[in-house]
């Protein structure tokens, strides 16, 4: 039997039992009633103690959403979603009063500990007891979002001394209303698309980052999203604004318990980069992908967009997408400032019955704007993966350049990979390049590795990591190591 076939079969046997983040936390929750209507939106707004303008904004979004249709152009299929059959607000019940880390429910802290997310500043700062062979981790500030609310944000004091605001967006709406009002919806308008409109109406939490002029954010920022409750959707909203000459590196991670029903995650992320600003946004997406028969898993319908408003600004999206039953996601850059740069580095892994339709949009508006797209797609099992990208050069974007490379790796013979690039060039001086390859892990490669003593899983992991190297090297170091492990685990349960 060919090595690859056998590997695949062994791997299929493993099923999705390798999803290590599938546990459920038993915690007392505060739910809104199921269903979506203006009263629910008012309830969310009230719970969040929002100002009137915010409620109006949400209602406007909701009214647009009612008139919109769910998009059907993506290469994915799933049964119709009943938007009335979910809770739009679910929060762990908390004791009264503001809380420091010490007052966070210990059950929540344990959950994040189990997930490997550091919420203890002290332990992190001391930096002692690094296990042998592991490098000391740099401190990372973490905002932990549990279902609909942020439960803890670390290192806020250190950051505020540097002038950086890093807090839950619900808090920012109350504490920095002018900033939020100026930028919220300025990159992704409320009625941008079906899922963005839904998010705008019902978003419950997410992170807000503001880096003022000339400040280089002193540490990596990270938000960790966890869906725990049953029958809830998660609608987070992230807004990052980086002023002239400032920079930030931000990472988001996500996991969810294993459940038989599908859960909806519809996030909106907006980035704004002013003159000479730099934003590096990295995602390790590991939502529960469903079991080996395609039951359960997260619907990950996400709108992410960055605006390079200032000259020479730079926005870089790096994503490692291993989870979710269905992914619909196109982190994009609007390259407005002269000489601004947009980058998109992506690894998307699908296994079993997972479906992913992901890619990017690079909209070149300004002169001498540049964009780079490196997309690596790995399909295994019966999964289907599509790269969908748009490069648009507008008439004023003289001297614009784009380079796109899409590589697909197939494992087994029941999966699919598709590449759908749209290129629209309206300026004669622009240069656009597109390269694409499709390959399989060859039996020669597997045999060679195994003859050298590597197990099938290690061999696949090594080859896949080699295939993804150009993207993984763009991740912050500590996360690159985690992403590598994650790829291997996803392939154990999804590839062969």
């Amino acid at each position: 039997m060919p090595a690859v076939t056998e590997t695949r079969e062994q791997v299929e046997k493993l099923g999705q039992s390798s999803y290590k983040w599938g546990f459920e936390t038993d915690i007392e929750m505060d739910f809104a009633p199921k269903g979506l209507n203006e009263d629910i939106i008012r309830l969310i707004s009230t719970r969040k103690e929002e100002p009137e303008w915010m409620l109006e904004w949400r209602l406007e979004a909701y009214r647009s959403w009612l008139k919109m249709k769910e998009p059907t152009w993506a290469h994915v299929s799933y049964p119709p979603i009943d938007y009335q059959d979910a809770h739009y607000y679910a929060a762990p019940k908390k004791k009264a009063g503001p809380k420091s880390l010490d007052e966070v429910d210990p059950e929540l802290l344990r959950t994040y500990e189990k997930l490997g997310i550091p919420l203890h500043e002290q332990a992190m700062l001391a930096g002692v007891e690094v296990p042998e062979g592991e490098e000391a981790r740099l401190p990372v500030a973490v905002d932990a979002v549990f279902d609909s609310v942020s439960v803890a944000t670390t290192f806020r004091k250190t950051l505020s001394e540097a002038g950086v605001i890093f807090c839950p967006i619900s808090e920012a709406i109350r504490d920095y209303p002018d900033l939020v009002r100026q930028y919220l919806g300025s990159v992704v308008p409320v009625a941008d698309n079906f899922f963005a409109a839904l998010n705008s109406a019902v978003f419950t939490d997410g992170s807000f980052v503001f880096v003022p002029k000339g400040v280089r954010c002193p540490m990596e920022l990270s938000t960790y999203f966890r869906i725990n409750a049953r029958n809830t959707g998660q609608f987070e909203r992230t807004l990052i604004v980086v002023e002239d000459g400032a920079s930030v590196s931000y990472l988001e991670g996500c996991t969810a318990p294993m459940r038989d029903e599908n859960q909806l995650h519809a996030a909106v992320v907006e980035l704004v980069a002013m003159e000479d600003a730099k934003i590096k946004y990295s995602t390790v997406q590991n939502w529960y992908p469903g079991d080996e028969n395609g039951r359960g898993g997260i619907y990950n319908f996400v709108t992410k967009r960055g605006a390079c408003r200032g000259a020479r600004s730079r926005i870089s999206w790096t994503q490692v997408e291993t989870g979710s039953a269905v992914t619909w996601k196109y982190p994009s850059c609007i390259l407005q400032g002269e000489g601004s740069v947009g980058e998109f580095y992506s690894v998307a892994v699908t296994n079993n019955h997972q479906q992913a339709d992901t890619g990017t949009k690079m909209i070149h508006l300004g002169r001498n704007t540049r964009s780079t797209i490196i997309a690596k797609t790995i399909s295994a099992g019966k999964s289907d993966s599509t790269y969908r990208g748009q490069v648009k050069i507008m008439p004023k974007a003289s001297g614009a350049r784009n380079f796109t490379q899409c590589d697909s790796l197939l494992i087994g013979d029941q999966c699919g990979a598709h590449t759908v690039p749209y290129i629209e060039n309206r300026n004669m001086t622009a240069r656009v390049e597109h390269e694409a390859t499709t390959s399989k892990i060859s039996e020669d490669q597997m045999f060679y590795c195994r003859q050298r003593g590597l197990s099938e899983e290690d061999a696949v992991g090594l080859i896949v990591n080699g295939f993804c190297k150009d993207v993984l090297k763009e991740l912050p170091m500590e996360f690159a190591v985690e992403a590598q492990k994650l790829l291997q685990i996803s392939l154990e349960g999804s590839v062969g």
């Binding site: 090595a3 056998e6 039996e443 195994r450 003859q451 590597l454 290690d458």
Partner: protein, 256 residues
Amino acid sequence: MSELLKISGLHASIETEGGPKEILRGVDLVIPPGEVHAIMGPNGCGKSTLSYVLAGREDYEVTAGEALFKGRDLLEMEPEERAAAGVFLAFQTPVELPGVNNANFLRTAVNAVRRARGEAELDAVGFLKAVRAATKNLSMSDDMLKRNVNVGFSGGEKKRNEVLQMTMLKPTLAILDETDSGLDVDALKIVAEGVQNLRSPDFSALVITHHQKLLDYLGPDRVHVMAKGRIIRSGGPELAKQINEEGYTAFLKEAA
């Protein structure tokens, strides 16, 4: 134990479009510990197939016979178990692994094998020390460790890389499948020395070759002639010289 490897009546075939094709037709071969044996024979006689079957390549179906390695049924073992047990195959055409760093690959392999053998894994420093010593002996530059496995390597570099892996993995039985092919005189000498450095009572080698030259360096204990899927003649080093002078025709007639 008087035999490290004992092959008896081994038959193996490969699936082709016209049905299964038998390539090994009753191979008998014994390799005692510490000995270097050579297999020579015309193209298509089954030499490479024998090496693949011993290493565990799954394209071949063993239809009869057995192969015992250290008394264990080799043919029942997975390829990586055979590697851990001490079987190493130097590939005739080493495989490229794009994006996989050569040093990282080597360290992963060495530690996988060490783990399986119940030995302590090498840490980064220990590994680097060992690999530097080995590359120096093989006149390899450090640069080759930084490149991706066999990608863009010249023919000679690939073969040296095989010998480097062999040196680091410390096999008890190395099968060298035409490792000398395509090498110039200097490279051949380096590769031969690489093999000679490993010679010990715990190291045996099965050297598949068409050329007398490599055998001159190695000084094999036994030489076997293979034809039509069987060993048709075995003898001392003088057999290789005879083949070199007279070719295979005489042997083939004899076998027929």
